[in-house]
C-alpha cells in the first residue's frame, strides 16, 4: 500500500534533489553534501519516499542477482543427458590411464580397419570390356596377297586429315605409302581423315604420289626384311629404271 500523500509517482513532484537522491542511495555523496542532504530529508517527505522506494527496488534487483537459479525448473521434468553428454561425462570421470588405454585401443582399431580396407584393393579387379553401343559395321577388308601389314604402316598422319582446299583430291593420309607399287588397300568406305595435315607432310605426300618417288623415311621404318614385298632389290629397281 502506498501513501498517496507523498506518492511522487502521481504528484510528479521534483524538489530538484533527484541526482542527490541517487548519489545518496549509492553512497557516493561527499560527506558535506551528505550531511546537507540528510538535513533535507528531515523536511522533504518526497525524497524520503523515493529513497525508500528506490531502496526496495535495489533489494529486489539484488535478490535476482544473488539467486543461483532465478527460475527453478519444475521437479517433474527430468532432463536425460544425450549420448554425447554421456560420453563427455565418462571422459571426465575416467582416470588418465584408462583414457590413454581407450585411445590406444581406438587407434589400433582404426589402423586394423584401414589395413583391411586397403587389402581389399591391392589386386584390382580385372577390367572386362563392357560392350558399348553398336558401332557401325565396317566391311571387312580382304588383304591382298602382297599387301603391307597394317602394323608396318607408319602413322605419319592421323586419320582425321582433310584436304586443304576443296579442289584437291581426297587424301588417304592415314596410310603412308611405302612404295609406289605397294600402295596398301584401303577400305573404300573409310571416311576421310579429319585432322588437317601440315603443309610439309601434305607436300611430301603429294610429291610422293605424283612422282612415285619413295622416301628415305620409308626405308628406315622397314623392320621386316624377310617380307618379300619389301625387298630392296625391288625398290632399287625403280631407281635403275629412271636412270
Amino acid at each position: 500500500m502506498v501513501d498517496e500523500m507523498f506518492d511522487t509517482r502521481k504528484s510528479g513532484h521534483k524538489c530538484g534533489h533527484e541526482n542527490e537522491v541517487v548519489a545518496y542511495l549509492y553512497g557516493e555523496l561527499a560527506e558535506a553534501d551528505r550531511t546537507r542532504f540528510e538535513a533535507h530529508l528531515e523536511e522533504c517527505v518526497y525524497c524520503v519516499d523515493e529513497i525508500a522506494a528506490f531502496s526496495a527496488v535495489r533489494l529486489s534487483i539484488h535478490d535476482w542477482k544473488n539467486s543461483e537459479s532465478p527460475v527453478t525448473p519444475p521437479a517433474a521434468v527430468e532432463v536425460r543427458p544425450g549420448f554425447l553428454e554421456s560420453v563427455f561425462a565418462w571422459i571426465r570421470l575416467t582416470p588418465s590411464f584408462a583414457k590413454g588405454a581407450a585411445g590406444f585401443a581406438a587407434l589400433v582399431l582404426v589402423l586394423v580397419f584401414g589395413w583391411l580396407i586397403s587389402g581389399t584393393f591391392v589386386d584390382p579387379p580385372q577390367v572386362t570390356e563392357v560392350p558399348g553401343p553398336a558401332a557401325p559395321k565396317a566391311e571387312p577388308v580382304e588383304p591382298r596377297e602382297n599387301a603391307v601389314p597394317e602394323a608396318e604402316l607408319t602413322e605419319a598422319v592421323p586419320p582425321d586429315v582433310s584436304p586443304e582446299s576443296p579442289g584437291d583430291p581426297p587424301i588417304d593420309a592415314h596410310r603412308v605409302r611405302k612404295s609406289p607399287d605397294r600402295r596398301p588397300e584401303v577400305a573404300k568406305d573409310k571416311t576421310p581423315p579429319k585432322r588437317k595435315q601440315t603443309s610439309p607432310e601434305l607436300r611430301e605426300n603429294q610429291l610422293a604420289e605424283k612422282d612415285d618417288i619413295p622416301r628415305l623415311s620409308e626405308f628406315e621404318e622397314i623392320d621386316d626384311f624377310a617380307d618379300e614385298s619389301l625387298r630392296l632389290t625391288d625398290l632399287f629397281a625403280d631407281f635403275s629404271d629412271d636412270r
Partner: protein, 207 residues
C-alpha cells in the same frame, strides 16, 4: 452470538483488521486491541527496512533501525493525532532513527564509518525474514524484476546493469559511456522511477 466460538470470533476479527485503514488500525490499537498494531507492522515492514537500508547501507544496522522505528511508533501511538498519514509518520520516525544512529557512529570513531561505507555493497542483500518462504512466489518475484529491468529502454537498462551488477561508480560509468556525470545520475533516477512503477503495479508485493 453465544453460538459463535472463540476461534471463529478471532477469525472474524482478523478479517476485519485487514480491511481497516492505517488510521483505523492505530485507533483500534490505542483503544481496544494492541494486536492491531501488528497489521501495521506487516504492511510497512519491508518499506521501512528498505528506507533504513537506503540510508544506512548495512543490513544489520537497517534491521535494528527498522525494529527501533516500530518500537518507537508503538510507544507513541497515543501521540498520533492523525494530521498526517500513518506511513508518513512511520517514515519520519525511521529517518530520525537512521540519522541518530549515523551521528552516534560518527562520534564514536571516523574509521568505523569509512569501513562501513566500503563494505556496504558486499552485504547488500534482502533480509531473510522479509524474503518469501514460498519458492514459487520467490520465483515469480524474481521473474517480475527481471522482466521489469529488461523492459527498460536500452540506455537506462545499461546504466542499471552497470551500477547494480558491475558495481561501477558514477564516474566510471560516465567514462565508459562517454556521457556527463549528471546525465548518468539523471538516467539512473529515471530508471529507478520506471522500475518502481512497473514493480508496484504487479500483483506481487515486490517492493
Amino acid at each position: 452470538m453465544f453460538l459463535i466460538s472463540f476461534s471463529e470470533k478471532l477469525r472474524l476479527e482478523r478479517l476485519m483488521v485487514t480491511d481497516l485503514t492505517d488510521e483505523q488500525l492505530v485507533k483500534l490499537a490505542v483503544d481496544q486491541d494492541p494486536e492491531a498494531f501488528g497489521e501495521i507492522v506487516n504492511r510497512w515492514e519491508r518499506k521501512i527496512f528498505a528506507l533504513c537500508f537506503g540510508m544506512l547501507r548495512r543490513e544489520d544496522e537497517a534491521k535494528d533501525a527498522a525494529q527501533d522505528t516500530f518500537i518507537a511508533a508503538y510507544k507513541n501511538l497515543a501521540k498520533f493525532r492523525g494530521e498526517a498519514k500513518v506511513s508518513s509518520w512511520l517514515h519520519r520516525i525511521a529517518v530520525n532513527q537512521c540519522l541518530t544512529r549515523k551521528r552516534r557512529e560518527k562520534t564514536r570513531s571516523e574509521s568505523f564509518i569509512d569501513e562501513s561505507d566500503s563494505a556496504e555493497e558486499k552485504i547488500f542483500k534482502a533480509p531473510k525474514h522479509l524474503s518469501p518462504s514460498n519458492l514459487s512466489e520467490k520465483n515469480e518475484r524474481l521473474q517480475a524484476v527481471r522482466a521489469a529491468v529488461n523492459s527498460l529502454p536500452p540506455e537506462l537498462k545499461e546504466i542499471v546493469l552497470l551500477k547494480e551488477f558491475e558495481e561501477m561508480t558514477f564516474q566510471e560509468i560516465s567514462d565508459a559511456m562517454d556521457v556527463p556525470l549528471s546525465t548518468v545520475k539523471s538516467r539512473l533516477y529515471t530508471a529507478l522511477k520506471q522500475l518502481r512503477m512497473k514493480l508496484e503495479s504487479t500483483p506481487l508485493e515486490v517492493v
